[in-house]
Symmetry: C2
Subunit: 380 residues, 2 copies
């Protein structure tokens, strides 16, 4: 086993090698790209890439656009939505985005650095659902702010599977970290974004994931999961509404959406808000709810989520998986659990059976095993 | 002092970073770009960039996705919306996009050719509002299809000024060419797309341009037009809904939107449809209306625009410019002309005075000259 001294030596060696590698890269990179810009200005000259963003101040939309540079955002997942999301954040001049994801992370950083060299990038190329990486993710959320040691301002989930969403949810509940979830359906024609404020709004474990009904003929629904469809258009719209929500949340303008869906077949965009579930399976979510309640009692907030349309999720229910991903109305009606009262166009990935039934019994009532259902959830 | 665990974590981090640094250097040295692909396939292999698009067939969304290669689309304007639009078309595998616009056209072509070498590009770097260039634009719309001599399948307007929109409108009315208009407000927080089928739906000259109400305090409205604001997020959403509408129109799936607005402040997406105006100033529009009427009498269409929500534009009115671009409700109420019956969230760029008044008198009634008003329209 390595001693502390040996490890320290190895750290020093690696640090040196890394500095040399970065120096070589920066000298190679100087061919393309613009020079860094110290301060965001509203001056209207060709050399100023920020004039059209800073114009938002003169238009009275944003009080203090240059504040965007003081924020750090972690983007988890760099697939269709994540890569466009990170690019939009870079173009908007965000202070620092983290990117955690698999192999595409480096290519993304290179492209984005060329687009906006003023942004600080931090990339991690790993699967966040393994224990070590999960611990590292928690550490970077807590300490990876613009100033090292401070938390990031927002975490964005742009992952494409259920386990990764649950990992982000668990981390953010434990840390009390505000995050936004995004998703695109397997058939690429619906998607959504959702703001999750631990203790205040429903977390990813509080309720079955909400999805946008695609209103597609039932028999055309995909049954075997070889390769999900993907459309650059749907990815662009979902990334666009996600980063717009990020700007509104960070810079404090307009109305931040709690949930915004996109049904591309009908061009329908349902919205809603949902409170946290006091019976949530996640103990950190329940703790955050308690903390939020005491804070609310001390300093009542004017624009709390309670004032938004409230969705009734039957609190006496246990959780069980019934139906997955894009569900048709017929499937939803056939489900045994009670249905939450959702606005038109939003449905749930599965319903919740009555308390009398155990989750096991409920799963037996369907023709699918829990494993099959979970496997299908992963495709969501 | 650092513990063994902390040091091990640091070693892992540094090793990871060093690998990434080296990977980046080697990837930067490589020349990118893939070889052309003769035939779109649904095969799920890393080397096939079309598997996720072709999956739309298996999902039952699109009957014949590979047909996308048989279409040619002209993109006029390569600013914020136009460049993202052209990129999305290239990523979707369109057969051929034309791009007409100013200096950015070549740079865009180079980037897009790298993204998808299977697409045929044709670029024209000019201002379409001069007579020579307008004639050339007409010729390329009529003959620039995938097969030279055949017309393009669709024209997309991604321009940022009134004259250029009017030029496209004039050309498309004369040629009976279906086109889609797009626009983003000066304050960057609202936008829209619109499908124009000459003779069937309202053309750009049939009615005052429809814009999305931004619900912004009146006094914060921009009065002098130095530099319009621009947001990559709004551009991405508008380009996304535009190209999604293009795919639905060309490939025949979902519901094609006649008008879809985007209010980013409230995340509100109003829709509507509007019939052509029999008193339209454009004689080619009136001729197309006559032709459409006779065709309708011979072969009644099931899904004509008449079945959509209909907007009453008072047909006995002359045209006069009253208010421009983003207008507040107070301004709209103060306008002298009758207001068309529009859905919530959609308003008009100006209202139409009563027939008794001449346009001249109406303009005199406002504090602005026609030139000033036209100058402001150009910023729209």
């Amino acid at each position: 086993m390595a001693t502390v001294e040996e490890l320290k030596l190895r750290v020093r060696e690696l640090e040196n090698e890394l500095i040399k590698c970065k120096q070589r890269r920066s000298s190679e990179e100087q061919v393309h790209g613009r020079a860094k810009i110290e301060k965001m200005s509203a001056e209207v000259v060709d050399s100023n890439p920020y004039s059209r963003l800073m114009a938002l101040k003169r238009m009275g939309i944003v009080d203090n656009y240059e504040k965007i540079r003081s924020f750090a955002v972690a983007v988890v997942g760099v697939g269709g939505v994540g890569s466009v999301t990170a690019e939009m954040l870079a173009r908007c001049g965000i202070g620092k985005p983290h990117q955690a994801g698999l192999s595409k992370v480096e290519a993304a950083e290179h492209t984005l650095r060329n687009i906006n060299p003023d942004v600080v990038f931090e990339t991690h190329n790993y699967n966040i659902t393994t224990m070590d990486n999960f611990t590292h993710l928690m550490d970077r959320i807590s300490n990876g702010g613009l100033e090292e040691g401070k938390p990031v301002d927002l975490v964005l989930s742009c992952v494409d599977n259920f386990e990764a969403r649950m990992a982000i949810n668990t981390a953010c509940n434990e840390l009390g970290q505000v995050w936004m979830e995004s998703g695109v359906s397997e058939n690429a024609v619906s998607g959504h974004i959702q703001l999750i404020i631990p203790g205040e709004t429903a977390c990813f474990a509080c309720a079955p994931p909400l999805v946008v009904a695609a209103s597609i003929d039932e028999k055309t629904l995909k049954k075997d999961g070889v390769c999900a469809a993907s459309l650059p258009t749907t990815m662009g719209v979902v990334a666009g509404i996600l980063v717009q929500n990020v700007l509104k949340y960070l810079l404090g303008f307009g109305t931040v959406s709690y949930y915004l869906g996109y049904n591309a077949m009908q061009d329908f965009f349902p919205t809603m808000a949902m409170k946290a579930n006091p019976q949530c399976d996640d103990k950190h979510c329940r703790r955050q709810q308690e903390e939020y309640k005491s804070k609310e009692t001390e300093h009542p907030k004017q624009e709390a989520v309670e004032e938004e349309e409230e969705v009734v999720v039957h609190e006496e229910n246990e959780w069980g998986i019934e139906l997955v991903s894009e569900v048709t109305e017929a499937e939803l009606q056939a489900a045994s659990g009670p249905e939450p009262d959702l606005p038109e166009g939003i449905t749930i990935a599965y319903t919740i059976p009555e308390k009398e039934e155990t989750s096991g019994q409920t799963v037996e009532e369907t023709d699918r095993s829990l494993e099959e259902l979970m496997a299908q959830m992963r495709k969501m």
